[in-house]
């Protein structure tokens, strides 16, 4: 699988990789594109693009409102896919699509995976597709060589953790705490132990998302997580400090890989 090899190669160069996030169409496509350019220029390693859904139950208030704002403008899934295609052709960086299961279900799960592959996407993340319900999605993605990222939490017991590792591909998205996206996570020793345990028991690449606020959190994850995912905070930085603020924010994060 392409993304796994890419991650492996990138990991040889850096202590920790960074995956950033954008909700497609929020605030508009032009702003998304500028943010993505900024991600690329700052050496971001993977980019997660979210196709909005009307009922995003894994998202906190920041993303819930942005999802809604995009849909109120009448932006369709096809518009989002066209935008992703353009970005994936423009920037030589792995793109992953995040969305909710109903978007795939209405498109046709196999057709959606085929389309993602066709437009140069490396993988998908679907938070409401647990392994017990969406086996066909994981299996078909694997067959097509597209990563279907599965999600683990500190509450996944060893048996389920193994099933999560076996069914998914690309890497494991580890949600380190209860709740939804957006609010701060305190990366204490208990959380770090959980990440370590998930890595050890599955032998997979572990990406940690939810509540990462800045360079301090990312630096803290070095040695346990392979990838740090920043979502809501980036939207907040963009909203409050604009592109120059984002540039500064990502520059500060990039430095954690250079620090001794």
């Amino acid at each position: 699988m392409q993304i796994e090899k890419q991650i492996e190669a990138m990991r040889r160069e850096k202590k920790i990789l960074l995956m950033t996030h954008q909700i497609i169409g929020y605030p508009d496509f032009a702003a998304n594109e500028k943010a993505i350019e900024c991600f690329y220029n700052n050496g971001v390693d993977l980019i997660e693009l979210q196709i909005p859904f009307s009922d995003p139950i894994a998202d906190g208030p920041v993303f819930t409102k942005s999802n809604q704002a995009v849909l109120e403008k009448g932006i369709k899934v096809s518009d989002c896919l066209k935008f992703i295609e353009r970005m994936a052709r423009k920037y030589p960086i792995p793109f992953l699509v995040m969305t909710y299961y109903n978007i795939l279900y209405q498109y046709g799960v196999e057709a959606f995976i085929d389309r993602c592959k066709e437009i140069g996407v490396q993988g998908t993340i679907v938070p409401d597709a647990p392994l017990d319900e969406a086996r066909a999605y994981y299996d078909y993605s694997r067959q097509q060589g597209l990563a279907a990222v599965s999600i683990a939490t500190p509450y996944s017991d060893p048996k389920r953790l193994q099933e999560i590792a076996d069914i998914g591909s690309g890497f494991i998205y580890y949600v380190p705490r209860k709740g939804v996206t957006g609010s701060k996570t305190t990366f204490d020793s208990e959380i770090l132990d959980g990440i370590q345990k998930a890595k050890k028991e599955t032998g997979k690449t572990i990406a940690v998302g939810f509540g990462i606020q800045g360079p301090g959190d990312v630096a803290h994850l070095i040695g346990t997580a392979d990838i740090a995912i920043i979502g809501s905070k980036i939207q907040l930085v963009l909203e409050t400090e604009g592109l120059s603020g984002l540039d500064q924010f990502l520059g500060d994060i990039a430095r954690v890989n250079k620090e001794e």
Binding site: D55, K76, N102, I151
Partner: protein
């Protein structure tokens, strides 16, 4: 007997193609824990006795089955009987479910309850349960619903519950469910999500049905005592589906009993402003809010806005059990428009001296549409799921009652001064 009910409803949380538990991974332990506890109480006769005793002692069960002499005489067709869920404490069938879930919470050692509410009846019932059992309660309610049904918001607050108006999405019931799921994902250690209808991830559809089955258990005995036979038809309104499942479940395996659910036809099929998923055949199978069912959605899979004069029926999905029962033709589904509901309301209140909730009035409107096809020896039971006091603002407006308008205006002025 209780286990059998679940077996013929479905297997492993699926009812035909519908059901499941499409929740974020973080909620898997919470739904697992709940499902395990639910499977245990299904086998526990003592739990059921404790539950039914609480309903008798606290909520006033069994509720009567009232012969609708006025309506029956007016039409001169089938005899109509009314199952009086309006006479429950809190004024609706919702209390049956929350008292059951409250006892389950105690078993699970949870101390905080969250709930979503549309019309507010489930919110009030949950707040009552929390006050009685000593739990902390947070109720999520679409901001638009909170405005339409402020009387219920008032009561929830008086009962000590925190009421959180939800402004995301369409600011109605589905958005309140989303917020409750988000809260649950963050707090499942001490918090139980008392979902109010037979929707959502496993085990909620069958669990809510189980707790609401008291309606049809009583109904079956009562109608047989009075008429010496099962009803020929049962009508219930259909939003999420809890009162319909409650009224139908004991008769599912009685092929002679026709089961009719009535959805919110809103401003009519052509208007696009309705909440009819099945009758207007506008819904498609989809996955949202933790389960797979028929949802009103666009081609992309985005959930659509819904409309009903009755906040309690204004929901984008439908119980996966009812989606399956409709597909297999065991339940027939109609829609009644807002206008038909208002006409039905006037008839019920004048002929029976009863004030039904606008939700329940849909079920009556369904009967009135079809009663010409019945014979005088036929027996119809309608589940009057709740009483209409809470709807006084909507009804006053719909009837364009000048006295009511003057009263509200004067009251408003008095507060403004």
């Amino acid at each position: 007997m209780k286990n059998e009910m679940i077996n013929y409803l479905g297997q492993n949380g699926y009812f035909g193609a519908y059901g499941g538990r499409y929740v974020p991974e973080i909620l898997i332990p919470a739904v697992d824990e709940l499902n395990q506890a639910f499977q245990e109480i299904l086998r526990d006769e003592d739990f059921y006795k404790q539950y039914y005793n609480l309903l008798m002692d606290f909520s006033g069960r069994p509720t009567p089955l009232t012969y609708a002499a006025g309506l029956s005489a007016y039409f001169g067709k089938a005899k109509i009987f009314i199952k009086r869920e309006d006479l429950n404490h809190s004024g609706a069938h919702k209390i049956n479910n929350v008292l059951g879930q409250g006892l389950l919470m105690k078993k699970l050692g949870k101390t905080r309850v969250i709930a979503e509410t549309g019309a507010g009846q489930h919110g009030v019932a949950t707040a009552i349960m929390a006050a009685k059992m000593g739990f902390q309660a947070t109720i999520y309610m679409g901001a638009e619903d909170a405005e339409r049904q402020y009387a219920n918001v008032f009561w929830m607050k008086q009962l000590g519950a925190e009421v959180v108006p939800v402004t995301t999405g369409t600011a109605t019931l589905k958005d309140a469910i989303n917020e409750a799921l988000r809260d649950w994902a963050g707090n499942f250690d001490n918090t139980h999500y008392a979902l109010g209808t037979a929707c959502g991830p496993r085990p909620f559809p069958e669990m809510v049905t189980f707790f609401q089955s008291v309606i049809s258990k009583e109904m079956k005995k009562q109608i047989n005592d009075i008429c010496g036979k099962n009803p020929d038809r049962i009508y219930a309104c259909l939003g999420g589906g809890s009162n319909a499942m409650g009224a139908f479940v004991e008769f599912l395996q009685e092929p002679g009993v026709e089961l009719v659910a009535v959805e919110a036809g809103g401003k009519g099929e052509a208007s696009g402003k309705h909440a009819s998923r099945i009758a207007y055949a506008k819904a498609k199978t989809g996955v949202s809010q933790g389960y797979k069912t028929l949802f009103l959605q666009d081609d992309d899979g985005q959930m659509l806005d819904t409309w009903s004069i009755s906040a309690g029926l204004d929901y984008v999905g439908v119980s996966p059990i009812l989606a399956h029962l409709a597909e297999t033709k065991r339940v027939r589904v109609l829609a009644a428009t807002d206008a038909e509901v208002i006409e039905a309301f006037k008839l019920i209140i004048s002929k029976e001296g009863l004030i039904p909730a606008l939700e329940s009035t849909h079920a009556f409107a369904g009967i009135f549409k079809e009663i010409a096809d019945t014979k005088p020896e036929d027996v119809i039971v309608v589940n009057m799921s709740g009483r209409g006091d809470k709807d006084i603002f909507n009804i006053g407006e719909a009837l364009q009652d000048q006295g009511w308008k003057t009263f509200v205006t004067e009251r408003g002025k008095a507060y403004a001064d």
